[in-house]
């Protein structure tokens, strides 16, 4: 007998959200994730749901082990919290896209074969694009196009690599660690796009801020963590990932320190936290895999609260710029408290959730003698403390401003969602051993040793001194920071623009030549004697000629050019 699939439940709920009346839709969209959560809790290794794709290929939609179950559970939990946060969202299509996005993410982690994984991977990309587009500003629309292009590129790389691997090894998902060849790298690049591994990370700080407040919460929770799941499944133990992840963590922390846009700052921090997970899974040890998994789970919780807080700030004040904010703790005390607790969690302050997961990561790096990576991850942790716990909390909530800004009251469902997430951050931080037991290898770290607590408290106190000393330097200004996307947003645009103008000049030359040729023929046909007496070309209406619409001719021209280019490319390849 087939079991229920929590991801498909969410996808169906999302499709229903399109057709239900608004009042029913709100409740259905909020309740759907709780049903999915209930189903997820009941799933075990015997769960099975298959679909006959062809005569010889059967899709394994439900493949549950400890790793998949852990990721599926946290996805259901954050879908519940985000569903409450976005309770009053009016756009039915946004609700539909959010639920389909959450459902397809769960379906990816529960997939037991490549076809299921890739199908739902693509559904994730398309549905999350709508969440960016739903921001409905000029910038949001453009960001959504770039987001879609990037994810289509990643999806196709993954598809190409997966097909080559399946032809050799069959449709079951197997670890690729130690592999080589173009298929290996295609799959890795496909995962690196979703995992925001530099230089393929720019879509995250570009698109996340432009989505709606609820959209950003969904987006920050799923795509990148699905990629971490896939990296653990396929590339755990790939040692060069340890150093790459550590560098990624520091790089993104530096970029976050420079940011003025609160959502962009948090987006860069997603990349930084992902770097720590990548470094941990690269070790391949039990502590590393459990550390990466637990850090992903806790990251979804505290990052969710941070993004919800940022969304509440934008809702209340109308701005994302830290330079324009200040003194909000009096007007938004609950949001301040939840944001502050989540910022302590993300930094890894003792007795909050991030501390428990970082303990596993640092243990894995220490055990594997990855000393440089260990210190880089520590540096990234200090960067997190500086940019989120100190910078945002001080400049957004506690800094005195000259004039009090207008602040709209934050809706109760947004506050309720934030409180739920915050409570989970506190409970999981105080009782991490229950979470350690649920991890794939059930590695038990001992984070509450005196030395470990003193280490982290001392680090943060020490790091606060330069922040306080150089508080003027830390003040954000109304600027943007260039990143690797400069390459395709400026250089590639200029290149394509120049190429387009060059191609236009060539066709224009052909068109003028043909125009003159037509005039000569017309003149000869009207007055054949002029061929011998001297050709005076008949006046032709040039303006009319060049403004004439020739859709068939233009289509043929484009088709012929395409065929010529394709032929030349084939010749070169052969």
């Amino acid at each position: 007998m087939a079991d229920f699939h929590p991801g498909l439940i969410l996808i169906v709920t999302g499709l229903l959200a399109l057709i239900l009346p608004e009042q029913i839709r709100k409740w259905a969209a909020a309740a759907g994730p709780f049903v999915a959560l209930a189903v997820m809790i009941g799933l075990d290794g015997d769960a099975s749901l298959t679909y006959r794709f062809t005569q010889s290929i059967t899709m394994d939609l439900l493949h549950v082990d400890t790793l998949a179950w852990a990721f599926g559970m946290i996805f259901c939990v954050i879908a519940c919290i985000a569903g409450i946060y976005s309770f009053d969202a009016k756009d039915g299509r946004e609700k539909c896209a959010s639920l389909i996005y959450a459902g397809s993410s769960i379906a990816v982690v529960l997939a037991g074969d490549w076809i299921s994984l890739i199908c739902f991977w693509e559904v994730m990309a398309v549905s999350s694009t709508y969440l960016v587009w739903a921001g409905r500003t000029h910038r949001a629309r453009r960001a959504s196009y770039r987001y879609l292009a990037m994810h289509f590129f990643g999806g196709n790389m993954l598809l190409g690599g997966a097909i080559a691997i399946c032809v050799q090894n069959g449709w079951q998902i197997e670890m690729l660690t130690g592999g080589s060849g173009w298929a290996y790298w295609f799959v890795f690049i496909g995962l690196a796009v979703n995992g925001a591994i530099p230089p393929l990370h720019t879509w995250a700080p570009d698109a996340y801020p432009e989505a709606t407040s609820a959209g950003t919460v969904y987006m920050g929770s799923f795509t990148t963590k699905v990629a971490i799941y896939a990296l653990i499944r396929l590339f755990a133990g790939t040692e060069w990932l340890v150093f790459a992840g550590a560098v990624m963590a520091v790089f993104a922390a530096c970029m976050a320190l420079m940011e003025n846009d609160i959502k962009r700052l948090l987006s860069y921090h997603i990349v930084s936290q992902l770097g720590m997970m990548v470094a941990a899974l690269g070790t391949g040890s039990a502590a590393g895999i459990d550390g990466a998994t637990l850090h992903a789970i806790f990251n979804i919780l505290y990052k969710g609260v941070l993004l919800m807080g940022a969304g509440a700030i934008v809702y209340a004040t109308g701005t994302r710029k830290i330079s324009e904010l200040g003194g909000l703790y009096k007007r938004m005390p609950l949001v301040t408290a939840c944001f502050f607790i989540a910022s302590l969690s993300i930094a890894g302050v003792p007795f909050f959730s991030g501390f428990a997961s970082k303990a596993l990561i640092t243990e894995a790096l220490h055990e594997g003698h990855f000393t440089i990576a260990y210190w880089l991850v520590t540096l990234a942790g200090v960067g997190t403390w500086l940019s989120i716990t100190l910078k945002i909390n001080y400049f957004v909530f506690f800094r005195k401003t000259k004039a009090e800004m207008a602040v709209k009251p934050v809706p109760v469902y947004m506050k309720a969602a934030m409180v739920m997430g915050t409570l989970l951050c506190i409970v999981t931080g105080l009782f991490p051993s229950y979470c350690y037991e649920l991890m794939p290898n059930a590695t038990m770290a001992h984070p509450f040793s005196a030395e470990h607590i003193v280490e982290y408290v001392a680090l943060f106190i020490g790091a606060t001194i330069p922040f306080a000393r150089y508080i003027k330097k830390m003040e954000p200004h109304d600027v943007i920071t260039l990143d690797f996307d400069w390459i395709y947003r400026i250089t590639l645009v200029e290149f394509l623009s120049g190429l387009s103008k060059w191609v236009y000049r060539i066709f224009s030359r052909f068109e003028h030549t043909y125009y003159n040729f037509e005039r000569i023929i017309k003149t000869i046909l009207r007055n054949p004697s002029k061929v011998f007496s001297g050709l005076e070309l008949d006046e032709a209406n040039a303006e009319e000629y060049f403004e004439e619409q020739r859709p068939v001719g233009e289509f043929m021209q484009t088709f012929i050019v395409f065929c010529v280019i394709a032929f030349l490319v084939l010749l070169i390849i052969e």
């Binding site: 500003t137 629309r141 420079m258 520590t378 003193v454 280490e455 001392a458 943007i480 920071t481 260039l482």
Partner: protein, 53 residues
């Protein structure tokens, strides 16, 4: 324990200082631009796109 506290406090101080100098001084000088830096690049392709607030 006190020595450990001082050691890690010094590491925290040094790390914080390095990150602030690296980000807010060096990288900021190289990478920061006006907020509308990218907006002009699309004007040649964008023929009156609407703002749906």
């Amino acid at each position: 324990m006190m020595l450990m506290f001082i050691k890690y406090a010094a590491i925290g101080f040094g790390s914080g200082f390095i990150l602030i100098v690296l980000s807010k001084v060096i990288l900021a000088a190289i990478l920061q631009r006006k907020p509308d830096y990218y907006d002009d690049q699309y004007d040649q392709f964008d023929q009156g796109g609407e703002e749906n607030g």
